[in-house]
Amino acid sequence: MEKPSSRPFDEVQSVFSQTLSVIHSALVSDYRLTDEEARGAEEDLLIWFQRLSRRGGHMPERMLRISLLSATCQYGRSFQLWKLGGAPADDAALNDLLAREPDEVATELDRRLERGDRP
């Protein structure tokens, strides 16, 4: 049989592990999720990310990472909006973040990751 188009499991796991600290920081420090909520989110993100890597076509590693960060921000934003139930937060920085597009925040996180900034 022809080899499947998906990449090795280890490679996918490695991209996730290298990004995990940024993911956690974004969820907890930026989107203000609790540690426990963030851990739940990270489990879902890992499952989704493993499937993303097995889709048709091929995604280069950087694209995989940006996609993961984008999903992280989408998750964090949606979860926090749900917790707030439509009301604004007391925290102005959080309101500013929630007003931004998740993709834009993800690109910023990726740049930080590339520069090697500590979360």
């Binding site: 022809e2 879902d44 499937r51 097995r54 889709r55 076509g57 909006l81």
Partner: protein, 371 residues
Amino acid sequence: MTGRVIHFPRMPLSSEAGQAAADRVLNTPIPERAALADALALDDPETLLSLCSCLRRRLEASPAAVLEEADFLYRWIEKPLRDIGLFDERDYFLGETALLAGTACRQLSRRDEAHQWFERAEAGFRHTINVVGDLSRLSYQRLAERLEERQIDFVREMLPPLIDTFRKMDMHEDAVKCRFLEGLALMETDELADAVTLFHEIAEESENLGNPRLTASAYANLTHVYGMLGDAENAMAASAKAIPPLRKLDDRVALAKVQWGLATLLRETGKLPAAIGAYRRAQEDFQAIGMRADYAALNLVVADLLLEQGREVEALREVSEALPVIMELKMAPEGVAALALVHESVRRQKVDRGALRELHGYFEQLASGTS
């Protein structure tokens, strides 16, 4: 703000369980699936991912079956609105199943349906996280379809930017697939020497990428080009490199086209009875996989050879068999004079050979394959 509430999924299937679930789905007759949806885990993204992967591999073996399956999956995901997977997964599966259905339609020369499926694929892919990659894969299929519609200049204009996108995204196999379209365009414009050079380059590049399907497809196309050139030695050498891996991969579309290429070689070297036999074998292959357009195109080629042998009644029968399919599948655009002339000559019970040659030549140059 346009926040989206995330739904937390039930325990998902593992990828191995997803593969097993996909096998169970494919072994269940389509009309029975909806009632068994829970047991089949039909809305689990692992099942759908495995199904898409399996159907992608089967495209070259049985496009008609892939169309039926992809059509079912698309409709299943689309309505009623199902909560499938996380984030963009529902949109991805809508796009991917529509892309599979459209590709199968293209293989089967069902052009209007292919266009509709490609529109549906775009609607899904617009919302995926890898939107550039997904839409680029769709663009490739659309260009392949346009090539089959003889929009050669447009295809040549649009291929370089698409190749560039694929290369920037490290999607090297997709970039190579685009080069197949370049080669087919060269064949269409009778630049056969350039086509030979290009397909050799593609074979080498595919080999370096470790993709046996693309390598074998390059040799399948070389068989055809060398056949058109009447170059027996190289055509046979190319077919020897194409056939074993294509058999192993069960790529029945490409195998039928290799057979067509060998038949062309026999025709070009004046071995008419052997050529007719070889075309008949290619027709049997096409019939087995539901490729009616290719079958009909070969009716015309065989008719021409029969006329060469003075077998007018048989030739008339071949053309009469082909014309309804050519009309139904809109294989030639409106206004192709040769089609009207052949039609008229059949009505008068005497085939117009010049028009027949022009018409089958029109179909023949795009006989080689894309995937």
